[in-house]
C-alpha cells in the first residue's frame, strides 16, 4: 500500500498504547532493567523506556525465540503420540518502540526462513506481529544503518513509524495493511498530516560504505590475512550473533524425559568452536579467523546472493556487545579501504 501520513500528539500516542494494553493485547516494548534496555512484554504504558539509543537484544525473538518447542512426543508402549506446534496459540503481538533497524532486521530473517522450505512456525509468528517503530533522534558510535541501506527514519519493515517532531507532536506513517488496521481501530487519535518533512527531526548518520561495494570487497579478500588480524582478539563467544537482529542460525535439540520429550529449536552461533565440528572430528572452520570470515561473508556476500538481502541492518548491537571490542563498522571500513596488493 501507499504510505499514509498523519499527526499524533504525545498524549494520544500514550492513549494508543494504553488502549492496546486495555484491550488485552500482547505488547512488547523496550524496558529498562539491570542498566540494560530489553524488549519485554509490558502491562502498563509507564514501563516503556524511551531515552535509550538501542536495546541490548534485538526483537527477533518475537518471530524466532531463543528456545522454542517445535513439537512434543509421548511414547506409550509401541504407540507414539506427537503434538504438533500449537499454531492457534500464537498470540497477536504488538512490538512498540522498536527502531527502524529492528524492523529492517526482519527482512533477512524472512528471507532465511522462506528460502527453500517455508517455515510455518516462523511465518505464523511474523503474521501475528505488528511493528510500531520510532524514528531515531539520536545515535551512538556503533550505529551504521545508513551504510546498510537503512536510516534513522527508514520505513522498511515497520507497519507504522512514529517520528517525534517536538512540541508534543509526532509524524505517524501508516506503511502496511497491518499498520492500517491498527490505525482504523483508533482513527480518532490521529490528526491530519502537518506536511512537515520528517528528515529535519532525525539524527544524522554518515554513510561510510555501500553494501554492493562491501560484497565485492569481501569476496575479493577471501584469502586475505585481514580476517586473522581482525579476529585475533575474538574470544569465541556467541554475543554478536545472539544480539543480532539478522542472525538466524539454530540448533535442533531433543529434550528427553523418559518416554516423553520435546523437540526444540535453539539459537546457535557461528562463533562457537562446536558450530561446524563434524562427527569425524574434522572442523572446516577450525580457527576463530575462519569463523569471523564466515560471519562477515554470510551477511555481506552469501545472503545477498541467495535471498537478495544483506544480513545486517547496521544496528551496531554486535559492536556494543562484544567483550573484546570487535567493531563491525570499523572492520568493514578497513576492508573497504584495502587494496588488492595488500592481500
Amino acid at each position: 500500500m501507499q504510505t499514509e501520513n498523519y499527526t499524533i500528539t504525545d498524549s494520544n500516542l500514550q492513549q494508543l498504547l494504553q488502549a492496546l494494553l486495555s484491550s488485552g493485547q500482547k505488547v512488547v516494548a523496550p524496558v529498562r532493567a539491570n542498566n540494560k534496555v530489553l524488549f519485554k512484554e509490558i502491562k502498563s504504558a509507564s514501563e516503556v523506556c524511551s531515552d535509550h539509543v538501542q536495546t541490548t537484544l534485538s526483537a527477533k525473538h518475537l518471530a524466532f525465540p531463543r528456545t522454542e518447542v517445535l513439537l512434543q512426543y509421548k511414547k506409550t508402549g509401541k504407540e507414539v503420540t506427537i503434538n504438533d506446534f500449537p499454531f492457534d496459540a500464537v498470540p497477536q503481538t504488538f512490538l512498540w518502540g522498536s527502531r527502524p533497524c529492528d524492523a529492517g532486521g526482519f527482512a533477512p530473517l524472512d528471507g532465511i526462513f522462506n528460502w527453500d522450505s517455508k517455515d510455518a512456525i516462523y511465518n505464523k509468528r511474523r503474521e501475528q506481529l505488528t511493528i510500531i517503530s520510532f524514528s531515531c533522534t539520536r545515535h551512538d558510535d556503533a550505529c551504521f544503518c545508513t551504510s546498510m541501506g537503512g536510516g534513522p527514519g527508514n520505513t522498511a519493515g515497520s507497519d507504522m513509524l512514529i517520528t517525534p517532531a517536538g512540541n508534543g507532536t509526532n509524524i505517524a506513517e501508516i506503511i502496511t495493511d497491518k499498520g492500517k488496521a491498527l490505525f482504523e481501530n483508533y482513527t480518532s487519535l490521529f490528526e491530519e498530516a502537518m506536511g512537515a518533512d520528517k528528515e529535519q527531526y532525525l539524527t544524522k548518520i554518515d554513510k561510510v560504505f555501500d553494501t554492493a561495494e562491501i560484497k565485492a570487497k569481501v569476496e575479493a579478500f577471501f584469502e586475505s590475512k585481514v580476517w586473522k588480524e581482525q579476529s585475533a582478539r575474538c574470544m569465541g563467544c556467541g554475543a554478536c550473533a545472539y544480539v543480532c537482529p539478522a542472525c538466524a542460525c539454530f540448533d535442533i535439540q531433543d529434550d528427553k524425559h523418559g518416554s516423553k520429550g520435546s523437540r526444540l529449536r535453539c539459537w546457535d552461533s557461528c562463533g562457537f568452536q562446536l558450530f561446524t565440528l563434524h562427527t569425524s572430528g574434522h572442523n572446516p572452520r577450525e580457527t576463530q579467523a575462519r569463523r569471523w570470515r564466515q560471519r562477515v561473508m554470510h551477511k555481506f556476500s552469501y545472503m545477498p546472493d541467495r535471498i537478495n538481502v544483506v544480513g545486517c541492518s547496521g544496528c551496531g548491537r554486535c559492536s556494543r556487545a562484544c567483550p573484546a571490542d570487535m567493531n563491525l563498522a570499523e572492520h568493514l571500513e578497513v576492508i573497504m579501504k584495502m587494496e588488492a596488493e595488500k592481500i
Binding site: A33, N34, A142, A232, R233, C237, Q253, D255, T287, D325
Partner: protein, 266 residues
C-alpha cells in the same frame, strides 16, 4: 609509553617474544586487546588505568596454544590468573614474559611465570568494601527472595557463553555444556538450563576463581555473575582459610588430604 614500547621492541627483536598480547585504543574511550608480532607496530600499544581485559585468557585458546614465546601485558588481575594457570600446569611448553606497571606507572618486564609469582607475592584474594557491602545486602535477603532474584536475572541469560569465553580459568578443550553423550547440561537457554549452566560454572570455579571480574564485564546482559564467585571466595575463606594465589596452592575441589578435619571425606 616510551619505556613500554622499548621493552616490547626488544622482546620482539631478541626473539624472546614471537607474539605480544597487549592493549590498544578501541572504540571511543575503550581499550582493547592488541596482538603484535612486528616491531614496527609497537606504537599501537598502550597500557594505562583503562586497560582492563584479562589477557591471560588468550594463552590457552587454540589459536595461541602453539605459540611458545609470548609476552603479555599483565594487570594485577591478569597476574593472579597467570599464577593460578601456571599452578595448574597450563604453561609447561611456554616461555612467557610479562609487562606490568609498577607503582609509579612505569613499565616493568618480568620473565617467566615463577618470577611473576614472586613479584605478586602470596596475594590473598580479598574483597573490596564495596563488594562486601553488595554481598551483605544480598545475604540479608531471605532464601525465597534470593531465588526470585536469580530467577529474574538468569531468565535474561541467552547462553552466549561470553562469561566462559572471557574467563581465563575456563580453558577446557571441550566444555561440559558441549558434551552431549551423555548430555550433562541442557543446551537450550531456558530458566532451568541457565541455572544448570551457571551452577556448573560456579562449581568449576570454586577455589580457582581469581576474582578478575572478566565474566561479569563480558556479559552483554549485565548479569551480576561476580556475586556468585565472590560469595564462593568468602565461603572458602570461612571454611579453609585465606584464598591465596600461588603456584603451589591447590584448588578447593581438587584437593584431598587424609588428615582432613571432616569425617565424611575419609
Amino acid at each position: 609509553m616510551k619505556r613500554l614500547h622499548q621493552i616490547v621492541s626488544e622482546l620482539l627483536a631478541s626473539g624472546k617474544a614471537k607474539l605480544v598480547i597487549g592493549y590498544e585504543k578501541g572504540t571511543g574511550e575503550k581499550r582493547r586487546p592488541a596482538f603484535i608480532s612486528d616491531a614496527n607496530e609497537v606504537e599501537r600499544l598502550v597500557f594505562d588505568s583503562q586497560c582492563s581485559h584479562n589477557l591471560s585468557v588468550y594463552l590457552t585458546k587454540p589459536e595461541y596454544k602453539h605459540v611458545t614465546e609470548i609476552a603479555v601485558f599483565a594487570t594485577p588481575q591478569t597476574m593472579r590468573a597467570v599464577v593460578r594457570l601456571a599452578g595448574e600446569n597450563q604453561f609447561q611448553d611456554k616461555k612467557l614474559s610479562f609487562i606490568v606497571m609498577d607503582q609509579d606507572q612505569n613499565a616493568l618486564l618480568i620473565e617467566g611465570a615463577e618470577v611473576l609469582a614472586n613479584h605478586l607475592g602470596k596475594e590473598k584474594i580479598a574483597l573490596s568494601s564495596a563488594q562486601e557491602e553488595l554481598l551483605a545486602k544480598f545475604e540479608a535477603m531471605s532464601r525465597e527472595e534470593r531465588f526470585a532474584y536469580w530467577k529474574e536475572q538468569l531468565s535474561n541469560c541467552v547462553k552466549c557463553y561470553a562469561c566462559r569465553a572471557a574467563c581465563p580459568m575456563c580453558y577446557c578443550t571441550r566444555c561440559t555444556v558441549e558434551v552431549n553423550q551423555p548430555q550433562w547440561i541442557s543446551v537450550p537457554s531456558s530458566l532451568q538450563g541457565n541455572f544448570e549452566y551457571h551452577i556448573m560454572r560456579a562449581m568449576h570455579m570454586a577455589g580457582r576463581c581469581v576474582d578478575c571480574g572478566s565474566c561479569e564485564a563480558a556479559c552483554p546482559l549485565g548479569l551480576p555473575l561476580n556475586i556468585i564467585t565472590r560469595r564462593m571466595i568468602k565461603d572458602i575463606e570461612a571454611s579453609l582459610g585465606p584464598d591465596i594465589v600461588s603456584m603451589d596452592t591447590k584448588s578447593v575441589l581438587n584437593t584431598f588430604q587424609p588428615n582432613d578435619k571432616e569425617n565424611f571425606i575419609r
